[in-house]
Amino acid sequence: MASSFTHLHTHSSYSPMFGVSTLETLCRAVHTQGHAAVALTDTNGLYGAIRFLDVARQMGLKPILGVDLVHGEHRAVLLAKTLTGYANLCSVLSARHSDQSFDFITAVARHRTGLIVLSDDRPALATWSQDTREDLYVELTPGPMMHEAVTVSRRLGLPPVATTRASFLQPSDYQAHRLLRAIAKNTTWSRLREEDCCLPSHWLMPEASVARHFPHLPEALTNTGLIAAQCHTDWDFKETIFPAFRQLSTGDAYEMLRAKAYTGARWRYGTLSEQVVQRLNKELTVIRDKGYAHYFLIVEDIVRQAPRTCGRGSAAASIVSYCLGITHVDPIRYNLLFERFLNPGRHDPPDIDIDFPWDERPHILDWVFMRYGRRHAAMVANQNTLAPRAAMREIAKVYGMPAEEIGKALALFHRRADFVEVTSGLSAKTWSEQVCRALRLSAPWPEILLWSAQLQGHIRNLSVHPGGVVLVPDDIRRYVPVEISASGLPVIQWEKDQTEDAGLVKIDLLGNRSLAVIRDALAAIKGNTGRAIDYATWNPLSDAATNELIRRGDTMGCFYVESPATRLLLKKLWGGMPRTQRAQADVFDYLVVVSSIIRPAANMLADEFIRRAHGRRYSSLHPLLDEALAETHGIMVYQEDVMKVAVALGGFSVADGDQLRKVLSKKHKERQLRDYQRQFYAGAAVRGVSQTTIDQIWRMIMSFAGYSFCKPHSASYAQVSFKSAYLRAHYPAEFIAAVVSNQGGYYSTFAYLSEGRRMGLTILPPDINASQWAYTGSGALVRVGFMQIKSLQEDFVRRIVTERQANGPYGSLQDWVDRVQPEISQATLLIKAGCFDSIAGELTRPALLWRLFASQAATPSGYLPIPPEYALERKLAHELAMFGFPLSCHPLDRFQATVDRTPHIAAKDLPQHVGKQVTVIGWLVTEKIVSTKRGEPMEFLTLEDQTGLYDATVFPATYRRYCHLLATNHAYVVTGRVEAQLSTVTLTVHELRLLASRDDVSQCEPIEEAIQ
């Protein structure tokens, strides 16, 4: 039965830390109550507006967009009646978040056109009603304040309208609301103030319950229906919104793009072959027809601002991008599919992602905002939600748990991913009790876990997307509400998916550490050797030493191929490849595949790929796939393989295949995916494919819902990998210094320096007359930079270096003190780090400190003693404190006595013990926690001893017993079986204990076994 009442004031989980129900549950409940429309009025934002349109329509509801605008003591519900109203809604919200001088009453009054306003704010209503009474209502909500609102309605002569201000679905959800508020207010249950919460009566009352509160004002209910009927519900956000390049017409922009593309093609290729011209023309035609010339010109304009960039993503499949210098991989040479990037059937705008050196990106962003104006550009948001562990942490704080205990509990959950989500088939309560029993977490942890299961996914706040920028032709505040980030940048209220769905075009300008590594290494090479390498024309793909280095998997520090899994894969691929094939196989081509197949979507087939690459015969799941997947030996590796398979087997058009590929990567995709599944099954059946084969192939397609790459992206990145590898092969000192200096690699600084030593480099300690802020490398020497000394200020170091360059090396501590006049704490750090050892003469470090302290005293110093030098252990302790790792020895040297007592073999000898149970000592360098198909956590470890690195696998049963002992930068005694596979050797761990655990076996006590 249709209802006369409509919910015009509802909050979803997109009301930050206020609304309890998700969009799905809210719309479902509204639909169940028999309503035809519903207004979503989240607090001060349209954070979930685009998703709401989709969800409401799925439920058969007409979606009304609105907001509960709250500022200080004032509040009102604003509902969009027209498209102008929507623009005004965005404007007033932007002003609310961005303008320091925001005045609630004035701002709403200025933007009332196209909006329906409901409020019980008497001063505001009085002011607004003087302008016009049209579309102005007094909001009546059951509760103690309703009587006063009725009085306001009668006094001002404004029509009443009934709302529930629903912040949750059922009265029993009120505690969940209070918990969200307590988290938001950083307080506890008992200290939470009533005024910080809504009322317990603010639930999604059905019409009958609402009506019981308004026997005297039936029009308050009927007015809701009238308002709903007036509001705009036919929303269409399909139109692409993008500015014109330098105010050019579309035709002129195309002509300019064409001219630039051809000029660029001659720069890239010299003479233009027929193939190049054909490809250029084909792409330019699509770009012209889709009206994207402005987009390419603007991206090219941005890329021009930096000498070193890397076009990532599918854009690398475009020859136009290549010729414009946006990307650097030849799409013809590497057979990159343009349709993955752009095709005539694609409705959404193209997506070009550009990497800049990480430290140059802020300047690029500044330039973009300066060039296009802060009113026409904004950053895309990340909507930070309560993820499982964050929810546990915040709820635990509300329960008053000490920080240390929270940290320990979350560390357990970090390692036990299988315990983080409610196990299917169990009630949340049973799950929470079982998990707490297994992890030995006492009360109130079961309660905390129970709540965390309910509150996951609630939006908490906005942050700035790492690189997404949107540009619009006019005021961005007309399209989407804008806030101001902590760094002062305008940021829209939507994350990338809603941004794209709303027709806004996102350009990703991302920071990339490896581009900075390459830049710094090239500069160092020029400084040390005089050899200048031009980044743009530099092509190391045919360099023999580089190719050999990649074949060996010696790629630690090399962009994107340095993880243990990738290095292992490279070793397996090239180590076991028959000699004739090895001679012919192209390292770059295989590197492109390796950097893709290692991603979750395809990595379970990596070993099979290697066997086929080694020549094993295979047959595809269906002959129709033979051609589509020939390049990757019949295995789906790239995102576009989804498209190819859908076209070849399911009879999809290229556009549909691309859309299926795109839908797979979305968060909320179930409904669309069902349609594509039906289409695929029907198409494949028509082609005579058996049901079993279709099932198998569909499962393969579904695996691409996980993290995966497209081939252009892999090719683009593989090129940067190659350049990194070239530097590592030919200029190891400059390379390692740049890797460590730019930080943020896969490994710790210690691990890179350790690798440097294995490469034959000598690592020198920081020195007051030799070090710079960053690490420096030359020949076979790497000098630790001052940056490695914790708490040392960069400005101070710059002063030291500038003074040294201007007036020569420092002769003594006193000379340095006189010239630099340091703060005592900073000078202390330098002395303890050994920076003055080279100019100390007979003085020990303690003696230097004594003289430093004495130099600060008011009275002149007489005789000062020379205490003995620090003992070795103290020096090591200082190194640990200053650098974060021991510099003068291997960390395992500190446990030499225990190591000597422990029977073990050296890491370098592991290959001699294949098939045997051995014990090795190891310093945990890096770890990767993964889940098996059954969802059980396990872990891959990379450890090292003084003789080398080795990889170890901890399977689920062992992992459950020992996961609580694992942490990087700790020493372990590892016992396990040496396994050899595809010419690589790994250790399958059976037992593990901390080396520093004083012979105490109780620390190795398994967690779960104790409670069974």
Binding site: G400, S442, T859, S1002
Partner: protein, 394 residues
């Protein structure tokens, strides 16, 4: 005349007392810690437990994992107090000038008592013997010419052993000892000094004693002379007999720990009511109120305030206590213990003020509250505390 100071101490006193009461605990690893609180830390550990790697401040859960045979006992303050009192009775037999340094540990000035009790080392040995004979507690003893030397000596020996540092040999005795043996350096305010000594690689008391005082003063400031004296075994501080201040105090251990302000405030009001009842029964008033809370991460916070005029009524103290509670309990961490202490106790002045300048309504309210308190005292005395209690309306 050279001073003669004796230090007598029973190591791990609470554990030693617990073992007296239950001899079956003598050979097994034992620790003292709150039992019900899940986040409790060990307060004392026996030598057997120490051998298994346990230490004071270790979380009880971890301790049980490390040492599965560990027996954990809750603290028993009244038993401790009785035991400490018993030791005092032995100590006071030998000298009137004694100072309690911590439960189960005493410093005694026995200068000039040689003719009665013999030399200081005999006194120390006699105390050890008396305590062992009468209470079966093994104590350590140190003898020296000052408190610092005697206490340091006692800390260096095992149960039933005695260390006598002869006058004149103090510097030789102190010289090889690590600087951290000086208890005075463990105060939070001395942390920068300790760090600086560490930086200068001055590791033993001998290193300090050998350093020129002016050079030390340049880097340690005013502390240099004091530290140099300590390093040479010089300490002029006299043994200070305890000066008893009358006080009323009650501690509530919150098991399990709690974060709910209302519940905690209710517990506090119960304590206040009991303390006020005691005050009234003793016909005394208090002029100072102090509240100590302990968070579950073992951080203690103390706040105190003066009460003007002095009082014995809950109605006067409750607002003050509420303010103290709010000032103490600011962190978002559960509480595991609260101690309320009333000090500045004096006799109740029977003669009240002739002219009360409070508003009449306020006076009436006060009067009603006092009458109610007296009525409750009567009921509690007759039917027990649980018979009637304050509630709270929401």
């Amino acid at each position: 005349m050279d001073r003669q100071i004796v230090c007598f101490a029973v190591p791990s006193f609470e554990i030693a007392v617990a073992r007296l009461h239950d001899p079956t605990l003598r050979t097994r690893p034992l620790a003292i810690a709150p039992l019900v609180t899940p986040r409790a830390l060990l307060r004392e550990v026996s030598p057997e437990a120490e051998q298994d790697g346990l230490f004071v401040g270790m979380p009880i859960e971890q301790a049980r994992r490390w040492c599965p045979t560990l027996h954990v006992l809750p603290s028993n303050p009244s038993r401790m107090q009785r035991a400490d009192q018993s030791l005092r009775s032995v100590v006071t037999r030998y000298t009137p000038v004694w100072e309690p340094s911590q439960p189960g540990s005493f410093l005694m000035d026995v200068t000039g008592t040689a003719k009665i009790f013999g030399p200081a080392y005999d006194v120390a040995a006699n105390i050890q013997r008396d305590v062992l004979t009468h209470y079966q507690l093994e104590g350590t003893a140190g003898v020296g010419s000052n408190k610092l030397v005697a206490q340091t000596a006692a800390n260096l020996v095992g149960p039933s052993q005695l260390y006598d540092v002869r006058p004149g040999s103090e510097q030789v005795f102190m010289s090889p000892l690590p600087i951290r043996i000086l208890l005075g350096l463990h105060r939070p305010c001395m942390r920068p000094i300790l760090n600086r000594l560490d930086d200068l690689n001055l590791l033993t008391l001998g290193d300090i004693a050998r350093s020129p005082i002016d050079a030390l003063a340049l880097v340690l400031g005013d502390y240099a002379r004091q530290l140099s004296r300590w390093a040479q075994g010089i300490d002029h501080v006299p043994v200070l007999p305890p000066t008893g201040q009358p006080r009323l105090e009650e501690t509530v251990v919150i098991e399990p720990d709690e974060i709910d302000d209302t519940a905690l405030w209710g517990r506090l009001q119960d304590i206040l009511q009991r303390l006020c009842r005691t005050l009234r029964s003793q016909r005394r008033v208090c002029s100072r109120l102090s509240l100590t809370i302990r968070y579950s991460d073992q951080v203690d916070v103390v706040k105190q305030d003066r009460i003007q005029p002095e009082t014995c009524w809950e109605t006067d103290l409750s607002p003050l206590l509420s303010s103290l509670f709010q000032r103490c309990f600011r962190r978002r961490i559960r509480l595991c213990r609260m101690t309320l202490c009333l000090t500045g106790l004096t006799a109740y002045a029977e003669q009240g003020s002739l002219f009360n300048d409070q508003p009449l309504e306020h006076q009436r309210r006060q009067e009603r509250a006092k009458n109610l308190a007296i009525a409750l005292d009567t009921l509690h005395a007759r039917f027990g505390e649980q018979a009637i209690r304050y509630g709270r309306s929401h």
